[in-house]
Amino acid sequence: MNVNRTRLDQSRAPIYEALENFRKMRVVPFDVPGHKRGRGNPELTAFLGQQCVGVDVNSMKPLDNLCHPVSVIAQAEDLAADAFGAAHAFLMVGGTTSSVQSMVLSTCKRGQEIILPRNVHKSVINALVLCGAIPVYVNPEVDQRLGISLGMRREQVAKAIAEHPNAVAVLVNNPTYYGVCSDLRAIVRMAHEAGMLCLVDEAHGTHFYFGGGLPVSAMAAGADMACVSMHKSGGSLTQSSLLLTGPGINAGYVRQVINLTQTTSGSYLLMSSLDISRRNLALRGREVFHQVADMAEYARQEVNAVGGYYAFGRELLNGDSVFDFDITKLSVHTLDIGLAGIEVYDILRDEYDIQIEFGDIGNILAYLSIGDRIQEVERLVSALAEIRRRYQRDGTGLLSQEFIDPEVVTSPQEAFYAPKRSMPLVDSVGQVCSEFVTCYPPGIPILAPGERITQEILEHVQYAKEKGCSMTGPEDPELKYINVLA
């Protein structure tokens, strides 16, 4: 763990400080944005506040430029790299989706192979559509009782590396949405020994860099690149993110790749939120995440005391596909009270005014982070107790399987751009899908371009729709029709 071993003064926040100075200068704006510190849009100013619209400004010399940082943004990136133990950090304003895509696009080229688990976020496969790399899937193990995908086993990764010696990178989902971690250090070592890079989608692991007793972070494990969703557990504004690189990566080239798709009008609201959040985490993160972990452990005990529910934790550890577990995640298995996770998710929102992160077929996930308080945790636990009392029923007939092993027929890019036709979903068994079908959340595709449609997949889609999951990705928003290769 590289926490508290920073070489820079982490109490500084250069972008924030520059914006504060800038505000005092009372500079007359004859540039964009056209709302001119909010004057031109009083309704927006009333809604968001003068403080907020007043710093919604454009790149200029005293504020640096995200496309080519040389002053305050460069300093903020140095501080972030220092805080996260990375060789370089990039402030990202297009969500962690843009971090993931930049990570893949700067390491894989058309026709090259990349080893990855199939339960990746769809942003990874989107990146493959863009760059034309070929996925080599390592099927994650599935916990049969919980119906969730686990991490990658070392042996499976070794096998994939041996069978695809020319692959350029191994991508790891660490942790998964549910908090499951693979043996990251071992996977990094295997990848490096085979001359491959190790890339980590660490969207749900910002706090790993600032916690005692939490799983190892990507940079500490020696990974080459990692995407960190600062806006998830780190407390920055939605859509802000960090891309971290290790010492073996050419940061100048990564910057060029980022600039292929990134806006040239980077938002200072997002960048300052990254700067301030990084400062907060560097100064207080360890203490804060210790409290979050304690709160989640308490919630787990209380939920398990209700009966019927199973709030799972470190007892899942098996030394391999569940090498470690992120105890700040509150994942609860609901099938034993006779309700699908998505049903509990809906009841919590509709009847108890409690919004949780997601519900899937068998589980719900409540996201605990730096903003939570114990009184809200008590509400959640009591609401779960009430839902059990009021709705508990016989659970036979409920499905649990979340992950279906896909048959990859062509590369995502080839399938996405190939001639295609639309046909009724129900008749599509045996066809090769040319679009994404993603159950949201968690945002992991059930079908990706280039994969064979099977009866099992259709049944899963039908069931998830009936339970109230929303299906995103296909051209037909109702998913009665699906695009297949012509």
Binding site: D353, Q375, E378, S382, A383, A385
Partner: protein
């Protein structure tokens, strides 16, 4: 010298009380607690700057939240009181010999401590042998109770602060579950007058009305609360608040009260037209 305590009842309405001395001020883990000595209202307890009680008018609140259910259900023996760390509710309840046990669940020990010291006329019965004080989160406490109480009194602060959890469906559901088959829940239900208060009142009334088969609202005039006009909720599994009032039985107890009477009991459930409409709006 001129010193005033002011409380905003809405962003555009302010209620001020002249202060003689500031007796106590402390930030607890949950809230800021203050006690003032005032010429008009005697000692005043505020939490986060909101008046909780004054010596001058607390009897109205404490009598109305206790004697109404006690006069309806003659078999009340086990009582759960939530909030009420000042002791006023407990003081009224301990006047009944038939009460065997009062569990008081208050999250903030500092409130109890401050009131024991500075508001002895409220806290005077907190050491009654039947009273058991639990410093705990009420949601957590009540989750573990099933068919254990005849009466639950919810004496919370307003729904926008640390008491927010006591205005939720999960809480009312847990209360239902913690009550016996003929149990009653009475709660402070806020004020229907100012818009934001009214919306909160409607929301909690809807939640109670969908949880309990009988749910009625009654009113009292309390000068130091917003608009001087306050509501209580009467939710019950079996007893009707006025049809099942046993006025004779209550009178025989010979309890001296300054606000509550059995005639007022019936009248308190007769609501103004605008309020009836508001309640009907959310009852379906």
């Amino acid at each position: 010298m001129e010193m005033w305590f002011s409380e905003f009842h809405t962003p555009d309405v302010k209620h001020s009380i002249r202060v003689d001395r500031h007796l106590y001020s402390k930030q607890s883990d949950y809230q800021r607690i203050d006690i003032f000595e005032t010429p008009e209202f005697g000692r005043v307890l505020t939490l986060d700057g909101n008046v909780m009680l004054t010596e001058r008018d607390e009897f109205i609140y404490d009598e109305m939240i206790t004697h109404v259910p006690m006069a309806v259900h003659q078999g009340i023996r086990d009582i759960l009181v939530i909030g009420a760390g000042d002791g006023g509710v407990v003081r009224e309840l301990t006047r009944y010999d038939r009460v065997e046990r009062i569990d008081l669940v208050e999250m903030d020990p500092q409130v109890v401590e401050a009131c024991r010291t500075y508001l002895p006329s409220n806290a005077c019965r907190m050491d009654d042998r039947r009273v058991h004080i639990h410093f705990e989160n009420a949601l957590k406490f009540i989750r573990r109770c099933e068919a254990s109480y005849d009466l639950i009194i919810v004496d919370s602060t307003d729904p926008f602060g640390p008491s927010e959890g006591l205005f939720t469906r999960e809480f009312y559901g847990s209360c239902y579950n913690a009550l016996r088959a003929d149990g009653i829940m009475v709660n402070q239900q806020g004020s229907p007058f100012y818009a934001e208060d009214a919306t909160a009142m409607q929301r909690s009334h809807r939640r109670i009305a969908t949880t309990f088969p009988i749910s009625r609202v009654y009113q009292a005039h309390i000068p130091t609360y917003a608009a001087g006009y306050w509501l209580f909720g009467f939710a019950s599994k079996r007893y009707h608040p006025t049809d099942d009032l046993d006025a004779e039985a209550w009178k025989k107890l010979n309890l001296h009260t300054r606000y509550y009477t059995t005639r007022l009991h019936v009248g308190a459930f007769c609501l103004p037209a605008f309020l009836e409409e508001m309640l009907m709006e959310v009852e379906d």
